[in-house]
Symmetry: C2
Amino acid sequence: MQSFETLSQQFATRFQTDHFPAAPATLYDPNRYFLKLGGKRVRPVGVLMGNELFDTIVDDAWAVATAVELFHNFTLIHDDIMDAAPLRRGQPTVHEQWGPSTALLAGDVMLVKAYEYLNGISAKYIVPINRLFNNTAREVCEGQQLDMDFEKHDAVGLEQYLHMINLKTSVLLAAALRMGAILGGAGERNQNLLYEFGRKLGLAFQVQDDYLDAFGNPEKFGKQVGGDIKSNKKTFLLIHALETASGSDKEELASLLAGNAPDKVERVLAIFHACGVDAWARELKDRYLQEALTHLEDIAVLSKRKEPLRELALYLIHREA
Amino acid sequence: MQSFETLSQQFATRFQTDHFPAAPATLYDPNRYFLKLGGKRVRPVGVLMGNELFDTIVDDAWAVATAVELFHNFTLIHDDIMDAAPLRRGQPTVHEQWGPSTALLAGDVMLVKAYEYLNGISAKYIVPINRLFNNTAREVCEGQQLDMDFEKHDAVGLEQYLHMINLKTSVLLAAALRMGAILGGAGERNQNLLYEFGRKLGLAFQVQDDYLDAFGNPEKFGKQVGGDIKSNKKTFLLIHALETASGSDKEELASLLAGNAPDKVERVLAIFHACGVDAWARELKDRYLQEALTHLEDIAVLSKRKEPLRELALYLIHREA
């Protein structure tokens, strides 16, 4: 049983290989550039850990992990176009550097490359792995579309937001773990439990992400605090505040959202505190984390095999605020 | 042995099914809209005809044909974004109707759907069909990138242009036919010959397309003649003219390309005639068509089985100018 860190380093080393042909460089250099920007590689390591929970890591797991990471990078390149984001991990995005048309095509070909890796695994796993991969890919697209739809809606309920976040961010981690479980020979029940572990962990992670954007320590969080508030982004926090604030808080929140007051962040945070949004979010995060860990406990393998996944959950959720 | 028309109608009927879930409608309605715009469905029928050249059409051929047509539509949706095209088949494009972000995602999910169909075919064909599909998908992206690169270059040679056209438009028809051949149980040699038939036919078709844009009868061609000339589009004709014009023709052509004279189309056409570009293009088209037909003749099946493919070639290339 290997830790997240060990597997992440191993994956990073293997992933450094050149995944693309030399020519045309105008298409593939952007892909090479983007993959070099790095990342925590949580999802591909999820494949490896899902596999190792049940058996020794098989060769196919590395190919599937690579496909999952390429898929994730395809979504990032295309999301950056849609969000008109200038930076990714502190560096210019692909569309910023090479224009939106090349970014669009670079993303497309990144997705095709993911499928090429999937087509190289043992014949008996191709159908089930591709089925899960395709379903998940479709769900991630749906989640991104819902996220864009919500930007145009005034009222987004907590249920709707949860549904969107589940599709946009949770199912890929869940599916990565489950693909590993399939390759490890896990039965259907264990596969489902591991999938649910990943899904709940993803939700806990998103609550935490929303929380840190508002209440995090800027030095440790690594990005500007209050960005979501400034841009009126619908988050767990804002949605809960809009659902629970009353009287003058409710009115002030509405008027703050309608404008760009210089003290907007401080005043919205004050309302969040007054509504108890911070405590609520911490509890929600803990609940999802607890549910995730319960699913993990229920998986029918020796408890000590689960240790790396338990550590991963705590590492992802208890990162420094 | 069924004709292109018969198979095209059968395919159109089957393809009318709803390929996408109901929700989110904001994502899938654009896909449904785009598929309803229609088209000649040449590529999916290529799969069916490639199959029937060797054997009775199998169920898998319909699934692969569907995947090929969904892939083609994915490229059209994304190409329309890149070209900022307002219309497709006389109707607003997806990005024009729903914005570029939704068009981007609608294309992405169309591609994923294509892979879903491929994952449903008989296990023994999944790997070879996906390998060819993936290679082709990558090549089509490369062709589109080269096409965009060429817009920025002053000098594009005939060889380079051929390479681009081959990737952007020929390999998909070639691969469609070959996928059908694989499903029909064809051997490697016959597969290669059919692939080359499709590739050469694609090149002949593109020469013809470039030719008609300049020399076609506007009433029969169905679109404005001279569009490529007005936009300085690199075509077989312009590239050949730039390579062969000399003296005053060469100078005049350069100055016409640098400006937007009201009589630009007429004057460029006059230079084309002076350089013999029209006769050259007709000969080039005939040569590719002849090479295609020779490859078809070399395929080791009874000649009468080839009749529908021969007819398809003549139908595609001798369409009314």
